[in-house]
């Protein structure tokens, strides 16, 4: 290995390169360890991948425009639906959750940064390089083609045996292991930050619900990623070193893979949806001017989902013939998990009910979330019933279900979050007018795309198949879906136009534009690097709201004269006395080692693996000998 240079580097007493010090300008984005900038980078990168995954979806929809379509070959179609799923789950859904968590968690708990700023930075670069690594597979003509779930023995059979005639599954397995490393580091970081860095008085039950949901997804990430990492290592070994983990001819058991994968895969579903639940739990109270109805119950339901989410993975495997006892048990657990989910929906409705509702774009998206997610949840309960599941398995009905949950749920909530927190992140509003166009296009396009899938699914149209025959009565519905998909694309385009136009128009936002309830609204927009000039003291749930308002004898809200904002303080001091950790190159160098080794593993080039490990060790060593803050006179 790299022992020699490792120790040689350690022997140097000072950093290898001049410490980066710039905190503004475009170069600073490469070395930043500011949680807000990293959050924005996560979000921007995830949106780029959203476009990539969206283009794949559009190509799929074009192919399915009419029966026996010829736009794509079966092989290309396989690559596209695999990459669409992989992208949307690993490169869009999870990173967007991390983006919001990164930006918001320290602000909401009253901290100046996350617990491990440089590890935070590492997580981002691992995500970016992992995503680029996965997409670079197209250049080698071997994009992953075994589905985002990568069932064995299809994916695990060695290249020579020709089940999947490319290195696609290798790219997929190595890429996901890499992304998993990034996810686990960010999970650990969130857990430590939330447990350890809360402002005085911010007890666990006074934390905003979004922070709670981030904590739960971090826990789920921590425990869900290892089984799939193990399974991916086994797939890789089976393909490249002739092991027999999933080779039935030698005693291996392909079902083991399904268990390990869904042991990750189902909690993963909650990793994707809980941030959405957290976001609407913040927006709905603000735009209804009412406290979140039963906030503790929402938190408890989230925890319940987190736990029960571990006991339902087999409902992805009903069709494998596990026997009545197993399927019954997991069926009951699956129905049970609908209870805390349903409780939350009623909590949100109770929040909006009787409130002074402001129908801003953000609120529209949140209401859309409730409606669409409820529909997705209902078809989910249908899946839990084993016999009906056997009918629906591998049909477009399932596709409709999880798009209602993850698109109607997560994506709507994410857009709600964008419109809500954009002023906080960038200091200016997004255009409400364009935002409403954005919402209605998305709402109409989404339902037009995915609602007909329920029908064709129940009529038996199989998913993951590159075409369908004429005469099943699916033509019109498929054409509706394709039109809907393009309306969605148009809606996303409107969003991007809105982003640019709003930046040019620069409708400056005050510190607290929405009359918010949580701590991030108590500080200026955009947030200064040190977040809080003085760490706030927290006395109750929705503390910032209670600093602004009190009740008179008849229970009416009365605004307190002080207004609660500490914006005044910022004029007094520029916060330059606050020590912040300095920027660094090394987490990026460390992360760069991973894709280099990754290519080595995919093409079995051990020299390249060695180079990658050397880069990684170099980055790590330099990182270790670099102090947290540069030595300078303060």
């Amino acid at each position: 290995m790299t022992t020699v240079e490792h120790s040689a580097v350690i022997a140097q007493p000072r950093p290898l390169l001049a410490r980066p010090t710039k905190t503004s300008g475009w170069t600073s984005w490469f070395t930043t360890i500011d949680h807000k900038k990293i959050g924005i980078m996560y979000g921007a990168t995830a949106l780029i991948f959203l476009v990539a995954g969206g283009i794949e979806a559009l190509l799929i929809r074009l192919q399915l425009w009419r029966p026996n379509g010829t736009i794509l070959t079966a092989a290309t179609y396989n690559q596209l639906f695999t990459m669409h799923g992989t992208t949307m789950v690993f490169l869009v859904g999870m990173p967007l959750a991390v983006a919001f968590g990164n930006f918001l968690v320290p602000l909401m708990i009253g901290a100046r940064d996350v617990a491990f700023p440089r590890i935070n930075m590492l997580g981002y670069w691992v995500f970016l390089f992992g995503g680029i690594f996965l997409y670079s597979s197209f250049l080698f003509g071997s994009a992953p083609n075994g589905g985002w779930f990568g069932y064995t023995p299809l994916t695990s059979t060695p290249l020579a045996h020709g089940f999947l005639p490319s290195r696609g599954p290798d790219f997929w397995a190595v890429g996901l292991i890499m992304l998993g490393i990034g996810s686990v580091t960010s999970g650990v970081n969130f857990i430590v930050t939330i447990l350890n860095m809360r402002a005085p008085g911010m007890t666990l039950l006074r934390m905003p619900v979004f922070v709670w949901m981030t904590f739960i997804i971090a826990m789920l990430t921590l425990f869900a990623l290892p089984p799939v990492t193990a399974a991916l290592i086994q797939v890789y070994m089976d393909r490249n070193f002739g092991t027999n983990f999933f080779n039935a001819a030698q005693g291996g058991d392909p079902l083991l893979y399904q268990h390990l994968f869904w042991l990750f895969g189902h909690p993963e579903v909650y990793i994707l949806i809980l941030p959405g639940m957290g976001i609407v739990s913040e927006t709905l109270p603000v735009f209804s001017r009412k406290p979140l109805f039963g906030a503790r119950v929402v938190v408890m339901s989230g925890i319940a989902i987190g736990f029960v989410g571990w006991g339902v993975w087999v409902h992805h495997m009903y069709a494998t013939g596990l026997g009545p006892a197993t399927t019954t048990g997991f069926g009951i657990a699956t129905m049970a998990i609908a209870v805390p989910t349903g409780v939350k929906i009623f909590n949100w409705l109770g929040t909006v009910w009787g409130g002074a509702v402001r129908l801003t774009t953000s609120m529209l998206f949140s209401l859309g979330f409730i409606a669409m997610f409820t529909l997705g949840g209902l078809s989910g309960v249908m899946h839990s019933i084993v016999p009906s599941n056997a009918q629906q398995h591998d049909t477009y009905f399932v596709v409709a279900h999880f798009h209602y949950v993850l698109f109607g749920g997560l994506v709507f909530a994410i857009f709600s979050g964008f419109y809500y927190w954009w002023p906080k992140a960038f200091g200016h509003f997004l255009s409400e007018k364009m935002g409403k166009i954005n919402f209605w296009l998305l709402f109409i396009g989404f339902n037009l795309t995915f609602f007909p899938m329920h029908i064709v699914g129940l009529q038996g149209m199989p998913r993951r198949t590159y075409t369908y025959g004429a005469g099943h009565g699916w033509e019109l519905l498929n054409q509706m879906e394709t039109v809907g998909a393009f309306i969605i694309a148009l809606s996303v385009l409107v969003f991007f136009v809105n982003v640019i136009a709003s930046r040019i128009r620069n409708d400056v936002a005050p510190a607290d534009p929405w009359d918010g309830r949580t701590l991030e609204w108590s500080i200026p927009s955009p947030v200064p690097a040190y977040n809080f000039l003085e760490i706030p003291e927290v006395h109750e749930f929705d503390d910032f709201w209670h600093k602004k308002y009190t009740e008179d004898e008849e229970g009416r809200l009365v605004r307190l004269p002080s207004g609660g904002s500490d914006a005044g303080q910022h004029e007094v001091s520029d916060g330059s006395h606050i020590h912040l950790p300095s920027p660094s190159y090394w987490p990026m160098v460390f992360a760069l080692g991973l894709p280099i080794s990754g290519y080595g593993f995919v093409f079995k080039n051990w020299l390249l693996v060695g180079v990658g490990v050397a880069v990684l060790m170099f980055g790590l060593t330099a990182w270790l000998i670099e102090p947290d803050t540069a030595h300078e006179d303060h």
Binding site: A115, P200, F223, M237, D253, D628
Partner: protein, 230 residues
């Protein structure tokens, strides 16, 4: 190798914690002002280790699932050859290397205790012997793998070869990462950068090291000692 890469964040965590509370509430350099009373670094390493439980759990579960399956398949005429683990294993030899790994856990805690007392000379002796014991264990594993290979066991030898080599190999990779970590601590101590106030950096490395040891306690019993049916 993948395992090596996977460990690295923990290494980073081990270092990061020292002065990181600069980003914390009061700009204090001391690690004890967290809400839970536990330092960030320690909480992080325990969270990471609990995650690792599921990583090794997956491989141990795979091993247990396939345990004895080769022999059964051979009896049923489904596969031609099946290695009998009990004929392959050299129990006295593996017991000795396991014993050495167990003892490395002792030297690890002694190193930590020495550093907490401020006795850096003893600390270096103990930490070096921990690394040496770890190295001995790895050498034993290399020897064992070579021996099994010469007896014909391959990665592709039924499910036993696959599960055995991959599981113990990944464990070995973890031990190797641990050795590098220990050596870097030794180096830091030589440079005089590791006084009693930095004992937590050693404690965190020690937690990782003990974790690798307890994984081996389980593997040793489950793989080597629990009898295979004839």
């Amino acid at each position: 190798m993948t395992a090596v890469a996977e460990e690295a964040p923990a290494l980073g965590a081990g270092h990061d914690g020292g002065g990181h509370d600069g980003a914390g509430h009061d700009g204090s350099d001391h690690g004890h002002t967290t809400n839970t009373g536990v330092s960030n670094t320690k909480l992080a390493i325990w969270a990471f280790l609990s995650s690792e439980c599921l990583f090794f759990g997956s491989f141990i579960a795979s091993y247990l699932l396939y345990r004895g399956r080769d022999t059964n398949f051979q009896k049923a005429g489904l596969i031609k050859t099946a290695f009998k683990p009990q004929e392959l294993f050299n129990i006295p030899f593996t017991s000795a290397t396991s014993f050495i790994l167990l003892m490395s856990s002792l030297t690890m805690v002694l190193a930590l205790a020495a550093l907490q007392r401020g006795d850096e000379r003893r600390f270096r002796i103990w930490i070096a012997s921990t690394a040496l014991f770890g190295l001995t264990f790895i050498s034993g594993q290399v020897f064992e793998f070579t021996e099994f290979y010469q007896k014909g066991l391959r990665l592709s030898s039924g499910t036993f070869g696959s599960t055995f080599f991959v599981m113990t190999g990944l464990h070995g990779a973890h031990v190797t990462v641990g050795i590098f970590w220990l050596l870097s601590l030794y180096q830091r101590s030589l440079q005089g950068k590791l006084g009693p106030e930095k004992a937590e950096a050693v404690e965190v490395a020690g937690l990782y090291w003990h974790f690798v040891d307890i994984v081996w306690i389980l593997i040793f019993t489950v793989v080597y000692l629990v009898p295979y049916h004839k």
